[in-house]
């Protein structure tokens, strides 16, 4: 059975999408990316300087990993649209992870600016993957303006608090006609598995791997977690029961 993830016509071979932020250096990042098995990885857009270089792009090109530019750091729709356009020009991709956050303390998406930016970018021909709140109504509106996926948070960026409102994620999955990618908040492999068990199509994470004590091992664990959760979702779990139900035959029978 073909189980390939397709977002806006792009086939994505891995259901674990990685971020590159937070890695101590490019060698650590390379080992983690390889262990994760990822085929799509985010980068941020920043002012170039002699020290910056284009090292992360060279690395991703060498590893054959597709680039997903983000609009991290943008607070308004106008900023996010310009950043996305610059990313498209620099990286020659129409894919964009749209991030428009409200403040530094929560890094939660600003729903109004996000929806505005999403609509503008869709009209401009982008394949828009919005980082959104775990709000089923906002997810629906983002899909309605033409986003190619919706990416609800499990909990705030970098917190590692896991999925704080699984019921909202389940409602988003149930209603969505586009792929749902759980983005942000994952701390460990069981939480990545939980996202997939809830029916998400993929998981996007960075900090949980790049800031783990051993990023390479955690990347491997996340890969297994995503695969396990996907398999379990497809397998159909047993119903929850209140009382015990013996799995061995009754001795008196």
């Amino acid at each position: 059975m073909d189980d390939t993830l397709v977002i806006g016509g792009h086939e994505i071979a891995s259901r674990l999408i990685m971020g590159t932020g937070g890695a101590a250096n490019l060698e650590v990042l390379e080992r983690a990316l390889l262990a994760s098995g990822t085929t799509l990885t985010t980068v941020a857009m920043r002012r170039v300087d002699a020290a910056t270089g284009t090292g992360v792009l060279d690395l991703l090109r060498r590893l054959g990993i597709e680039v997903l530019p983000n609009t991290a750091g943008c607070r308004t729709a106008a900023e996010a649209v310009l950043t996305a356009q610059l990313a498209r020009e620099a990286l020659e991709t129409a894919l964009v992870k749209l991030e428009v956050v409200a403040d530094d303390r929560t890094l939660l998406p600003d729903p109004f600016e996000l929806l505005d930016a999403a609509e503008q970018l869709v009209d401009d021909g982008f394949t828009v993957l919005p980082y959104t709140n775990d709000d089923p109504v906002l997810a629906r509106k983002l899909e309605q303006v033409g986003c190619a996926a919706v990416m609800p948070l499990g909990s705030p960026i970098g917190t590692g608090l896991g999925i704080r409102n699984p019921h909202n994620i389940a409602m988003i999955v149930e209603a969505a006609g586009v792929p749902v990618v759980l983005d942000a908040g994952i701390g460990t492999a069981s939480e990545a598995a939980q996202a997939m068990e809830l029916g998400c199509d993929a998981v996007l994470l960075a900090t949980a791997v790049t800031r783990a004590a051993d990023p390479e091992r955690m990347a491997h664990a996340m890969r297994l977690g995503v695969e396990a959760g996907r398999a379990a979702h497809g397998a159909g779990r047993i119903p929850r029961r209140y009382w015990a139900k013996a799995s061995s035959p009754d001795p008196d029978a």
Partner: protein, 66 residues
């Protein structure tokens, strides 16, 4: 003339193009994008786009993030 290049004022020859700015910065031609006064300048237009006094030029590339 003076332009503001990634937020810092720089002296450039009158009539300098976007492409000249990349040479000033010493950055590669691939993997970067340029905005002048808040609008993207397409790669194909770099050589033909002359800057004017006080222009705000932003040159961006991809870095680790997200």
């Amino acid at each position: 003339m003076t332009v503001f290049l990634n937020g810092e004022s720089r002296e450039l020859a009158d009539g300098a193009s976007v492409l000249d700015v990349l040479d000033v910065l010493g950055v590669p031609r691939t993997g970067v994008a340029v905005a002048v006064d808040g609008s993207v300048v397409r790669r194909a237009d770099w050589a033909g786009t002359a800057l004017t006094e006080g222009a705000r030029v932003e040159v961006l590339t991809a870095v680790q993030g997200g």
